[in-house]
């Protein structure tokens, strides 16, 4: 069964690749477009500010308040087009700062995936997440929980078919007629439980600190 599912996932991924290529699932991943003091492509909750990075005019977004949150919806990503997300992130996150990357696959306000991001000093982080076997649209969120410094310069999500090896995220409360990850057959009303994520690659490059 597992072997059949892997092949099936591969077919989906390949079809998705044929259909959608490897375009970024996140608009303006480098936070280049700003509408006033806020990024144009992200919704903002709490207090944020635009800051410079390695260049005064290459911007990043700093999550200021303890409950600051930004999110962006992608309504076109589906399980047929994107089964494996390859994330790239460049950020500065202090050691004791809690920042979470969260994915809401039905954009219904319930987070199916939440992962605390590691401390970082402007290193490029890459990691993959295996999407649910069925979903329609996804909301990408970055949430700060508590005090500390967190600055995001880039968050990209590429469709990387066939490269994820971890089990898919379990998607609960699927609509009727949606496939379940457990059987892959016609949808039933059975709830699909659990979630998973693939290995995260951590870089070994040196930390960089912007000049104060």
């Amino acid at each position: 069964m597992r072997r059949a599912m892997s092949t099936w996932h591969l077919c989906i991924a390949l079809s998705g690749l044929a259909a959608c290529g490897s375009a970024d699932l996140i608009r303006d991943p480098a936070l280049e477009r700003w509408c006033g003091s806020q990024p144009c492509e992200w919704q903002v909750e709490g207090s944020v500010q635009r800051v410079g990075t390695w260049h005064t005019d290459d911007y990043a977004l700093q999550l200021l308040s303890d409950d600051a949150r930004i999110w962006q919806d992608n309504g076109t990503a589906t399980s047929e087009s994107s089964r494996c997300f390859e994330f790239g992130m460049v950020a500065q996150i202090d050691r004791d700062t809690r920042v979470f990357l969260e994915l809401d696959f039905l954009a219904d306000g319930s987070v199916e995936f939440s992962q605390r991001l590691p401390p970082s000093r402007w290193e490029r982080l890459t990691f993959r997440i295996t999407a649910p076997t069925w979903y329609r649209g996804v909301r990408f969120s970055l949430r700060k929980d508590g005090p500390g410094r967190a600055i995001l310069a880039e968050l990209s999500a590429l469709n990387a078919p066939g490269t994820c090896t971890a089990p898919p995220i379990e998607l609960h409360d699927r609509p009727a007629r949606a496939t379940c990850s457990t059987d892959g057959a016609r949808a039933s009303a059975s709830p699909c439980r659990g979630f998973g994520w693939s290995a995260i690659s951590w870089p070994t490059s040196r930390a960089r600190t912007p000049r104060q």
Binding site: D24, D28, P29, A30, E32, R33, W34, C35, G36, S37, C40, R50, G52, T53, W54, H55, T56, D57, D58, Y59, V90, W122, E123, R124, A153, E154, S156, S205, R206, R208, T209, P210, R211
Partner: protein, 591 residues
């Protein structure tokens, strides 16, 4: 007497009064000299040109070859009669001190300037010759030598009571065996003494000094005696002045000496720098200093005996004129060395036209003739350039530059999503230099620095940088051919770099004053943000310069540039220098 002298010498050495060994006179005793030169003419007399400078030349010979200590040779320039008399009094006191201690001494007096039969013309006064003689004869010196280079100076000599010693055999002595007074005058009491613009000296002083430098060493024993110097000066002064409009000049010698020996005046064999003209050389030898081209010596050199000339350390051009051609070479005399003139390094200035019969291919003969003519022209050019040197040099070059691929700065740019090429780039360089010493060039140089463009793929924004540098540089080089036809060099430069970065940045604009919730503004106004940097930079380089022509040639150079010209907000610098390989053209001027 000898024992007393030796004890006296020992006592004097303990008191620090001994003349330094380098100042030991060729013929013993302690020497004092008074050199007087005056270009200033009296009423009705035009100013001379070289009388005062001649005293400097005499000073150089006395102190380097004659054994006179620097502090015992006094030069007076355009003194009055009273000042000259006061100087003689100072000498008298010092010589008297030696005489009271039983020590020998000698006094050397030289005058170059205007005179008449009755006296020396000194500024606005006159010192009668009889008074000058009386004062010199009254000095308690063991031996006095007077040299007068002035018109009618032969009148200084007395017609009576003066005789010439008939037996001037030479021997090596530490003690004067001859006492009295000897007078050399540049002309007799009726003749005029002349100056030469070509020699930059008076005829007599020039030839007399050449004789003292070794040209007059008739018996080749390494010393020049009074009679040898006189004979040399007499012959050459007569020969050269016979060709002038003024007419012949007969050098006179008067001696009133008691003793058996000819008086050694100089010791060219013991000079610190010597030029030896080999025995096989035959012809007229002209030695000129460089870069002034002043004549130091002129000899009619016969085959069979070498001639040793004592010259100051420095650069010289030696011209040898023979019946069929003239050759010239440049050489450098260094301290504590004797240099043998090697004609193999003296290119020919003139080629004698030869009669040839053409046999066979006439065109081949014509080509040979053209080659010979080119060779002759080149040799003539090289000979004309002998002693000359480059002055200004201009270099224009281009090549390839290898830059630093993995600096923290570049790594950061890549971390933030930019990608670009690190391929070698084209480089340009230009410089203008001035050769201030034979092996040193100073100048200004320009060169361009690394220029790169990095692109952020998902946004098509680019980030680029470039820079230029202006440095002052110093080049040390070594030439391996005539006219610096092949130069090896190392070069160091330091200066400033002007660099800039350009980033396509997004302007934060919201053109809709009241933007509806349903409106998705996609306007992305871009702006180019330029940051400029002015920072120090430098380079080190090495290479070769090949100059096949007199004015133009080529160069090849490897240059390492250190130019940390730009930096980011993280404090990371990027070196826009790196290793450059340059090739180019080189042009020069000559002094």
């Amino acid at each position: 007497m000898k024992l007393a002298y030796g004890l006296g010498l020992l006592l004097a050495s303990c008191l620090g009064l001994v003349v330094p060994a380098s100042a030991q006179l060729p013929s013993g005793g302690e020497g004092y000299a008074l050199l007087v030169g005056s270009n200033v003419g009296g009423p009705g007399q035009a100013d001379l040109r070289y009388a005062e400078s001649d005293t400097e030349r005499v000073w150089e010979v006395l102190t380097s070859l004659g054994g006179y200590a620097h502090d015992r040779v006094e030069r007076l320039l355009h003194p009055t009669a009273a000042q000259l008399v006061a100087a003689l009094e100072r000498v008298r006191e010092r010589v008297a001190t030696l005489s009271q201690r039983g020590e020998q001494s000698r006094f050397f007096f030289y005058y170059s300037g205007h005179a008449r039969a009755d006296g020396l013309n000194l500024v606005d006064s006159q010192l009668p010759l009889h008074e000058l003689r009386a004062r010199i004869e009254a000095l308690p010196a063991t031996l006095s030598i007077v040299v007068l280079d002035a018109c009618q100076s032969g009148a200084f000599s007395r017609p009576k009571g003066a005789s010439r010693a008939t037996d001037f055999s030479f021997n090596s002595v530490e003690r004067l065996n001859t006492a009295g007074i000897a007078v050399i005058a540049s002309s007799n009491e009726r003749e005029l003494s002349q100056e030469s613009d070509a020699l930059h000296s008076s005829y007599f002083t020039h030839h007399w000094l050449v004789g003292l430098r070794g040209g007059g060493d008739h018996n080749h024993d390494g010393r020049v005696t009074l009679s040898e110097a006189y004979q040399y000066a007499y012959n050459h002064t007569l020969a050269t002045t016979a060709e002038t409009a003024v007419g012949e000049q007969h050098v006179t010698l008067e001696t009133n000496l008691r003793g058996q020996d000819d008086v050694p005046l100089t010791q060219p064999a013991a000079a610190r720098a010597r030029l030896r003209v080999p025995a096989e050389v035959e012809g007229r030898v002209l030695v000129q200093t460089l870069p002034s081209w002043s004549v130091m010596a002129e000899l009619d050199k016969p085959r069979g005996e070498s001639v040793l000339l004592a010259l100051p350390v420095g650069d010289y051009a030696v011209t040898l004129r023979r019946a069929e051609h003239v050759s010239r070479c440049s050489l450098r005399l260094q301290d504590e060395t004797e240099l043998l003139l090697d004609l193999r390094h003296c290119p020919v200035l003139e080629l004698r036209a030869a009669e040839v019969k053409v046999k066979g291919d006439l065109r081949q003969s014509e080509r040979t003739n053209r080659r010979s003519e080119r060779l002759a022209r080149r040799l003539a050019e090289e000979a004309a350039d002998a002693g000359k040197d480059e002055r200004f040099v201009l270099e224009l070059g281009m090549g390839a530059g290898l830059t630093h691929e993995h600096t923290d700065y570049v790594d950061t740019v890549r971390t933030f999503g930019f990608e670009g090429s690190d391929a070698p780039q084209l480089r340009f360089a230009a410089s203008l230099g001035y050769r201030i010493f034979p092996h040193l060039v100073l100048g200004l140089g320009y060169y361009d620095l690394e220029a790169r463009t990095y692109l952020r793929a998902f946004s098509l924004r680019d980030f680029s940088w470039a820079g230029h540098a202006l440095n002052a540089y110093a080049q040390a080089d070594m030439s391996l051919g005539r006219r610096r036809s092949f130069n090896l060099f190392v070069k160091f430069g330091a200066g400033a770099s002007l660099a800039w970065t350009e980033l396509d940045a997004t302007q934060s604009t919201s053109p809709f004053p009241d933007q509806s919730a349903s409106l998705e503004n996609t306007t992305t106004a871009q702006k180019v943000v330029t940051q400029r940097y002015l920072r120090p930079c430098g380079f080190v380089a090495a290479g070769i310069q090949i100059m096949p022509g007199r004015y133009a040639g080529f160069f090849a150079e490897v240059r390492y540039v250190l130019a940390p010209a730009i930096h980011n907000e993280f404090g990371e610098y990027h070196d826009l220098g790196g290793t450059n390989f340059l090739f180019g053209v080189r042009a020069r001027t000559w002094e």
